[in-house]
Symmetry: C2
């Protein structure tokens, strides 16, 4: 008789964004004539850059002719893309990465959820609070998080590193040593980040306690300030402790095209075994490669024209972030982030709960945002707005909020 | 201190196809002037059909304009594709499937590896022997297979159902009851299949012992005979026990484009819990959707023109299978499969081992095939050839083998 993985039953509620989508759909059904502006889920709105469209068309043509047709991709990705990534994202920052340390995937989400498979169920994870839900949920499914305390909204076997205005959103070194540390900088959901010196302290700590850092760098392209790392490997010793996840979703508008990559350095060992080799084995067994045409689209991002066009797109969203940040400030809100990331994190007015503010904003201003409490208890009383709307909608949304 | 998932260390050798690719690369290096014909890995060689290329171009154009750009796809797939699948692959066979039972993915491989996550580590799996390696390897990684006996080439906690000429490649009901049963019909690697009546017996058995069947129907499009199910749901009661995995890879040449789907019926329960709901939760957490342009390409497969063009392509490969089957027969080989599947399974001559025959064929005829023993001990002494080469190469390969 087949028995269930009971850990799945421990999962709390629906996945945050699915849950919001459902609530918004219900609101739309009851209010069909209201123009809703979504600054909720971090989905881009600008079309793919022309250079990417060209790369897609030309690679689609290749797929239609027998001499240029491509079947299964090389299991860890095409060399043309891996080389472009190494040159564009690492060598340009003074970091050496070898080609077999790069694993091309279909976006960060799957690898962020799957990387924990390499580790024993006995390991204890540490996450920032608030935090992107996938890190914890994938560990709940694996049975690594203990029991859930509904009042505290915390798992018994998870170490939480609070990130609030009190510590300037820089996680403190935890009192209990974790085995796996999830970090995301620039941060989702708070839109804040850490300096290179602050990240170096976390890397040093991980090496000291022999923890593995899972470093989510999805928002790297939005970094504006100089003293912020574009890759964790800018820190000394990071190759001995960190896996890095990167994505084309927010960098080049690939949310609907799906492309990302994971770096697993060969120096990185766990129980004396190279994680690179194990991760390669997982890929070879459970993943069948990213579409050729999407990998060609990714390559185009690193061309000279690509870089120019992508920069324009990122500047467009950065300008939106500035509009939100300044607009809310002038309306009297306490706001954070938005400088090195496409997210603005705001304190809800009058001590409203995050969900109360969600409904308030949806009903009074027809704006969809994301309740901070959905990212963890320290997010309670906060709210996330994204800069990924159109310029026009962003301006209108800020005007609506100001009028409340 | 981070500790490893030790189950990964139990994995035997390299993943089969990666291992073959390496051996072939070495042979090529030492023999740069020899023309190697690969009838090894099941990768297609014909370009995508014109109707698919058109669908890709037009959806790529949509991605380049702000009014038609698509970001994140709906989490379980676009309705246009799910509806096309339901109509084309199920309603046409008299089977009702509802839209929230269909999960669009990027090919069977990932879901075939990941579906076991829903089940307790205590479950015992049954697989055919020989068998596609992913089913067992993903369960090894999860710690469900016990210890490996190198002499017997079998895992202590896996139930093996032999498929040989003796039982006409129809797995017998196992003596010990399994909790999860992996089936693949038409079969990879043997190219054989079961009749509807034979499949019904397996479904009845699964329902009796409350086992879940993971049914891999990747080669459904190659079915030629009338008394063979195109979906397991043609069997009575299958919705109470079976998950079905389907792919566009072999149906429409999508090995490099990546598209497939998984059906998890709402009736299907495990420990009293609906697996559909749990699988939805896994998707929502660990998968971020299949590219829009690839889903549009999939939709085109079901158009009238698409069906015609796809049929031509499948007939082309079926003709290759016939050439291999008849050529080898006339050369005195014992051959199986090749009628309802793109694979021909042959008995090696003179009791050679599968790997001896692999090297013999590579060195003497410069043909790459797949050693049967790579699929399990009952595959020892057998060898797999695929019909996915070009017509010209297939004819030449058969001539070369005849001359040996």
């Amino acid at each position: 008789m087949c028995k269930l993985n009971d850990n799945y039953l421990k999962l709390q509620g629906r996945y945050l964004f699915a849950s919001i989508a459902k609530k918004v759909a219900n609101f739309k059904k009851s209010n069909p004539h209201k123009k809703i502006i979504s600054l909720g889920i971090g989905d881009v709105t600008q079309p793919l850059a022309p250079v990417i469209i060209e790369a897609l068309h030309s690679s689609v043509d290749e797929m239609g002719h027998k001499d240029t047709f491509k079947g299964y991709a090389p299991e860890f990705g095409y060399e043309f893309l891996k080389n472009a990534i190494i040159k564009g994202d690492y060598n340009s920052r003074g970091v050496d990465i070898s080609i077999d340390e790069v694993f091309i995937n279909d976006g960060i989400n799957a690898d962020a959820g799957n990387i924990q498979e390499l580790f024993s169920v006995d390991n204890k994870i540490a996450v920032c609070d608030p935090v992107y839900p996938v890190y914890v949920d994938s560990n709940v499914m694996a049975g690594r998080t203990g029991t859930y305390d509904k009042d505290a909204q915390r798992w018994s076997e998870v170490i939480y590193m609070s990130c609030t205005p009190d510590n300037n959103f820089v996680p403190d070194i935890p009192e209990e040593n974790p085995d796996i540390i999830y970090l995301c900088f620039p941060n989702n959901p708070t839109g804040t980040t850490v300096t290179k010196d602050q990240l170096q302290l976390l890397v040093d700590y991980a090496n000291k306690v022999e923890a593995v850092i899972v470093y989510d760098g999805a928002y790297e392209a939005y970094i504006s300030e100089d003293n912020v790392c574009h890759t964790i490997y800018e820190c000394d010793g990071a190759k001995n402790c960190a896996v890095e996840l990167k994505s084309f979703s927010k960098k080049a508008g690939f949310t609907g095209l799906r492309l990302g990559y994971t770096i697993v350095p060969k120096e990185l060992k766990c129980s004396g075994v190279s994680l690179n080799r194990l991760w390669a084995r997982r890929y070879g067994t459970k993943y069948n490669g990213t579409p050729y045409i999407v990998q060609r689209a990714g390559e185009a991002v690193y061309s000279e024209t690509g870089k120019e066009q992508i920069k324009k797109q990122i500047d467009y969203y950065k300008n939106n972030a500035k509009i939100i940040l300044e607009g809310l400030k002038s309306a009297g809100y306490s706001v954070y982030g938005g400088v090195n990331a496409p997210y603005v994190w705001l304190k809800t007015p009058n001590n409203m709960t995050s969900w109360d503010f969600f409904y308030y904003l949806l009903e009074k201003a027809n704006i969809v945002g994301t309740p901070g409490s959905g990212f963890g208890p320290m997010g309670e009383g906060y709210f996330r707005l994204t800069a990924f709307g159109t310029y026009e909608n962003t301006v209108e949304a800020v005007e609506r909020i100001k009028k409340l």
